[in-house]
């Protein structure tokens, strides 16, 4: 009985101490799981004496729902580009003006006037990448820079195709493939998209995450997937190449931003400035293997990333890349209907 009581009190005492989490010298980072380089945080702690606590999330929606509810205790969040306008419109973000920070001079010009945050009044790039076609070139040696790989697949690839189960990315790629604009509400276009997806689905093997192993085991020969995974897959299966569809392909960027109800605003600002330092941006990239948006970070990046065609988009394919905007709710509803039908 006594032991139990002691245990209970010890437990209660622990709960008590864990509650005081807003002292000076702290920062609460709310980021995608397995996305933050521990070395980056160690360096930040050493330089600024600010202890960073990382908490993970697994989707934009989870992060948004939690922060919207309030009482979350986070200072910095890292939403994807398509979600940033929602965060801004909901009034959840602090206009911390990264564009006036000291290290903003390192920001790559092409990422300054972005649709989701013109002039960078709220956000600092964390990492960015693309959605494209992973193809095992030992199975199919034709042109891989087209979405036809999954939507009108060549004979060799039929039955060996995977598609990432991400509504936004798949819908955008399909709409651009049939010649529409992302977020279109044109019923004729959407009809075409729906028919194309339903027809293509019979040629697919799966709609799953986790393709690296399956390419390595030669179970898959093609997939609509993210560039970072394509890069890592090439280390396991040297025949895998990453194609940038000429019909258009989605780009994404996750950006760090300060929450309006953050408790450690000053520390959060120091952190945003810190990650715009080229050496630190390179640390972010070295960990999760995606490109960052900071000029001069190349000098500190792992060598194998610098000439990787999955990470550095070749010049001739740059123009086809599109940052997909957040679609209005009524459009989103139509997309969900198509998506639901596709998943049946």
């Amino acid at each position: 009985m006594n032991h139990k009581l002691i245990g209970t009190f010890a437990g209660i005492a622990m709960i008590g101490t864990a509650g005081a989490a807003t002292a000076a010298g702290e920062l609460n980072l709310y980021n995608w799981g397995n996305y933050t380089n521990p070395e980056l945080l160690e360096k930040f702690e050493q330089q600024h004496g600010i202890k960073v606590t990382v908490t993970g999330y697994d989707s934009n929606d989870t992060a948004l729902a939690k922060v919207k509810a309030g009482g979350h205790g986070f200072d910095i969040v890292v939403p994807s580009s398509s979600y940033v306008p929602i965060w801004v419109n909901e009034g959840l973000l602090l206009e911390s003006r990264p564009d006036q920070m000291e290290n903003f001079k390192h920001m790559d010009e092409q990422w300054v006037n972005v649709d989701w945050d013109p002039g960078r009044h709220y956000t600092v790039p964390w990492q960015w990448g693309s959605v494209g076609m992973m193809v095992d070139t030992s199975v199919y040696s034709g042109d891989i820079n087209t979405s036809a790989i999954v939507f009108d697949p060549p004979q060799e690839l039929i039955g060996k195709i995977n598609v990432a189960p991400e509504m936004g990315d798949v819908m955008s790629t399909a709409i651009m493939y049939v010649g529409g604009e992302p977020c279109t509400s044109d019923k004729a276009v959407l009809k075409k998209v729906r028919d194309k997806l339903m027809e293509a689905k019979s040629n697919w093997k799966s709609m799953d995450y986790g393709v690296i192993e399956r390419f390595a085991g030669r179970d898959l020969a093609a997939s609509l997937y993210w560039n970072g995974a394509a890069f890592r897959t090439r280390e396991k299966n040297a025949d895998v190449r990453y194609g940038y569809p000429k019909e258009g392909y989605p780009l994404w960027m996750d950006s760090a931003t300060i929450l309006k109800d953050a408790k450690n605003v000053d520390n959060a600002k120091i952190f945003l400035n810190f990650i715009m330092e080229p050496e630190n941006a390179a640390l972010i990239s070295a960990f999760a293997r995606y490109a960052n948006g900071i000029k001069g970070s190349e000098a500190y990046m792992p060598k194998d990333m610098l000439d990787a065609p999955e990470v550095v988009i070749p010049q001739e394919f740059l123009a086809a890349g599109r940052f997909t905007p957040t679609c209005p709710p009524e459009v989103q509803k139509m997309y969900t209907a198509i998506w639901t039908e596709l998943q049946k």
């Binding site: 139990k4 245990g7 209970t8 437990g11 622990m14 709960i15 008590g16 864990a18 509650g19 989490a21 807003t22 609460n28 709310y30 995608w32 799981g33 397995n34 996305y35 521990p38 606590t53 990382v54 908490t55 993970g56 999330y57 697994d58 989707s59 989870t62 729902a65 939690k66 509810a69 309030g70 009482g71 979350h72 205790g73 986070f74 200072d75 995450y209 986790g210 690296i212 192993e213 399956r214 390595a216 085991g217 970072g228 995974a229 890592r232 396991k236 999760a288």
Partner: protein, 269 residues
Amino acid sequence: MASSRPFAIRRVPGFTTIAIICFALLYMPLAPLVVYSFNAGTSIALWEGFSSRWYEAAWQNDLVQEATIRSFVIATLASLFSTILATMAALGTTRTQPFPGQTAIYAMINQPLMVPEVVTAVALLIFFAIIKTATDYYGLAYLVGAHTAFCIPFAYLPIRARLEGMDLTLETAAADLYATPWNTFRRITLPLLLPGVLAGAMLAFVISLDDVIITEFVKAAGQDTLPTYMLGQLRRQMTPEVNAISTALLAISVVLVTIVFLLSRNRAK
């Protein structure tokens, strides 16, 4: 339980085959998980030689360590509180005259089993957010509270089953011999009930240790538990580190179940 003696299910033709198939289906998926936790490469499906590097990696990973300790603290407290509450609830619903509304009370106690977890999660998220902003307290108590709540039915069911199966004569005899209700409970009911309480506590502990959805919604800054940490890993890049953690958890639960089994067997003698 009290089915007729001569009929022995074990002697039904095909029993052994079906049992073996069931056990194989239950446990086979665990085999590759364990095997690949010893993979020397970074893959969870391609064998590249034997190594314990992922166990070392997990052991040295501060995030994993903190998440593990947090998971165990929450599971211990939640199973303790929920078992106490469930025992009281079980006594209240079995050692009493049937009263109007009893069925409604069963339903309410078992509500976490019926309501989809994500509904509870969203409700708790909103509810706790109000309290958090009002009190400015962000500690682990919210997670412990939430876990306690959804663990109650898991602790309640085995305890109630045990209580219902227990003979009332001993308790009646104690009362006849002028034992106070508390003494009856302490000396008679509780010792007899203990296997049920242990089973309930174990179940609650494991359920709390496993929980993802409610934890994901309720957790505040720096409150990742092992399952939510692992969930974050899955989406990006999975390494055998996840296998190593899972295998270690598996080993811990096997040890726990064995201990409880041995303890209850000794008691039964």
